[in-house]
């Protein structure tokens, strides 16, 4: 008998893999390295320094945009996770019926509609509301972020619910638990890892958004990504590299946490 087929033993595998990794990670590595550049160029090395991190930290615009990003991200993540949990319960705790697939599609719609289209649509829609109400606060960004975060929160929650044994809820009802108590004592604790995963995913997606935010934001409502975009237009300093590096670390941390939480079963 031949050994089990393994792609690892195919000719050229290592070379292709190495090329892919370089293409994927080399630009990022370069970006990270130049964040520690003492010179004010992003292409000429002038020795090691942490001064760009320091300068970003002292830049009130950066701090401001970062705080705004976190604020929008956390509110949008919590809201979208609540909506996603309700949607996931409604679409899994039911017998299949015609139209259920359509509902899945409707919930996942933001994944399919090009962001630029959503951005333009929201710009027009919100501008009407702005004129009508006179309100021009951060609420528009929160609403927009909540909407496009829902499918990302929905997917891990639904996956968790679908793997849950329905007999457990039936057993709780049999033991005198009302539907609400069954939800609080059985469904919710077992669903919790899925909800946490959804929450973190939604938060990361919100933090990262540029296109929709760029269209929806009013003056002085820059988030970190839109601030960075604005700075790059004016010429790049290693400060941008420093901000990107910090941002990268944060995202990696959250995604790693997400991985461990969603892997946890029972």
């Amino acid at each position: 008998m031949a050994k089990n087929f393994s792609i690892k033993h195919q000719p050229g595998f290592s070379a292709i893999a190495a090329t892919c990794f370089i293409v994927l990670y080399l630009p990022i590595i370069v970006l990270v390295i130049y964040a520690f550049n003492a010179a004010s160029s992003t292409s000429e090395w002038g020795g090691f320094s942490l001064k760009w991190f320091q300068s970003a930290w002292q830049n009130t615009q950066v701090v401001d945009a970062t705080l705004r990003s976190f604020q929008i991200g956390s509110i949008a993540a919590v809201l979208s996770t609540i909506f996603a949990t309700m949607a996931a319960l409604a679409t899994t705790r039911t017998a299949s019926y015609p139209g259920l697939t359509f509902k899945y599609a409707a919930i996942n719609q933001p994944l399919m509609v090009p962001e630029i289209v959503t951005g333009v649509a929201l710009l027009i829609f919100f501008s009407r509301i702005k004129i009508f109400t006179g309100y021009s606060g951060i609420g528009y960004l929160v609403a927009a972020h909540t909407a496009f975060c829902i499918p990302f929160a929905y997917l891990p929650i639904r996956a968790r619910l679908e793997n849950m044994d329905l007999t457990l809820e039936r057993a709780a009802a049999d033991l005198y638990a009302t539907p609400w108590k069954t939800f609080r004592r059985i469904t919710l604790p077992l669903l919790w890892p899925g909800i946490l995963a959804g929450l973190m995913l939604a938060f990361v997606i919100s933090l990262d958004d540029v296109v929709i935010t760029e269209f929806v934001k009013s003056g002085g409502q820059d988030t970190l990504p839109t601030y960075m975009l604005g700075q790059i237009r004016r010429g790049i300093t290693p400060e941008i590299n420093a901000i990107s590096t910090a941002f990268l670390l944060l995202s990696v941390a959250i995604v790693t946490l997400f991985f461990f939480v969603s892997r946890k079963r029972d």
Binding site: R170, A172, A173, D174, L175, Y176, K181, P189, L190
Partner: protein
């Protein structure tokens, strides 16, 4: 059953359950009526798809009947949701809550009933003792074996002292030895708690050994209700006789019917005494059943005659398959002794003796 009171715990009255609609509709239960007595170990027995689990689910409240009433001590519970019925279930998959300890699982029902903490604690301790699980009270349910999970499931369902305990094939996931142990354990628990048990199984042996009474079900109907002895020795119809144990079917002409007894003239011309199933309507070709262990093989003449077709050795007994002269097949079960052989060879011409109280006439 003189030691059983006559009060009915559960009365199922003309209950039907229809799934689907129009052309595709299926009657999982078709106008079923049955009374289950207080303090009884009652078994619903039948092949998969016969409606036994559906009936259990209707009593538990996980589903609602299309028609009919389900009375619990005279009160119609059919429209109540499960959490308002003083009835608890032991699930086939146990359905223990994985995020709770053994003790928390057992106390869950009492907690939901709003019992005081001290009372719950005492009752949980009592239940743990009853199922011999005291040592594992603090364990997660994923950290205990299948047999232990089974005990926890039982304790959890018994803790709120339900009026009726429903058991949905609870032993099917256990291996043979553990199953035998749990059968005895269940009988003990039922005896000690005095709670009415309704047990669902497709295992006829399990039903015969454990039950006070058995209802045999097929295609959404209850065919016969009776003690294990009634069901085994006096089956009313072909399905019951065939589903439970092994049996021989013979065609006969029935005469001199009186007091539930009659004379059956077999194809061989011999006439034997037989008991008659209730509801039997006289007809020319009736079916008579004789259990293999109630017939004897002889080298002399018997009520039936034929040739030995096959001999199968089973350790405790030997099955001898005989091809009758009438063309029918007949199996005789003969207890083994240590002396070699059953005394017959393949191809032997033999006679079959049927005892005076061995035959039952079926109504179909």
């Amino acid at each position: 059953m003189p030691d059983k009171p006559d009060r009915n715990a559960i009365e199922v009255v003309n209950v039907s359950k229809i799934f689907g609609s129009g052309e595709g509709q299926v009657a999982a239960l078709d106008t079923v009526s049955v009374s289950i007595r207080e303090n009884e170990f009652f078994t619903l027995l039948g092949p998969s798809g016969c409606g036994k689990t559906t009936l259990l689910r209707l009593i538990a409240g996980f589903d609602f009947p299309t028609a009919g009433e389900i009375l619990l001590y005279g009160q119609d519970i059919a429209p109540l949701p499960p959490f308002k019925r003083p009835v608890n279930t032991v699930f086939q998959s146990y359905a223990l809550f994985p995020h709770m300890t053994v003790a928390d699982n057992i106390g869950f029902g009492l907690e939901m009933l709003g019992k005081p903490k001290a009372e719950i604690k005492a009752r949980v301790a009592e239940m743990l003792k009853l199922v011999k699980m005291e040592a594992l009270a603090g364990r997660r349910t994923s950290q205990i074996s299948g047999g232990q999970q089974q005990r926890v499931a039982l304790a959890r369902a018994l803790a709120p002292q339900p009026k009726v305990l429903l058991l949905d094939e609870p032993l099917s996931a256990l291996d043979y030895k553990l199953r035998k142990e749990m059968q005895i354990e269940l009988k003990r628990l039922q005896h000690e708690t005095g709670i009415t048990f309704i047990f669902v199984t497709h295992d006829q042996e399990e039903a015969l050994t454990m039950s006070d009474r058995i209802a045999v079900m097929s295609s959404g109907k209850i065919l016969q209700v009776g003690s294990p002895w009634d069901i085994y020795d006096k089956p009313a119809e072909r399905f019951v006789a065939d589903f439970i144990g092994e049996t021989n079917f013979l065609t006969a002409a029935i005469s001199e019917m009186a007091n539930g007894k009659a004379r059956a003239t077999l194809k061989s011309g011999a006439t034997i005494e037989a008991t008659v199933a209730q509801g039997f309507q006289p007809k020319p070709n009736a079916t008579v059943v004789v259990r293999p262990e109630h017939a004897k093989l002889t080298k002399a003449k018997g009520e039936l005659s034929g040739r030995v077709d096959n001999i199968v050795y089973f350790g405790t007994d030997t099955h001898i398959h005989v091809h009758l002269d009438s063309g029918e097949l007949f199996t005789v079960r003969q207890q083994n002794t240590r002396s070699a052989g059953c005394g017959f060879e393949k191809g032997d011409a033999v006679g079959i003796l049927i005892g005076s109280d061995a035959a039952q006439v079926l109504k179909d």
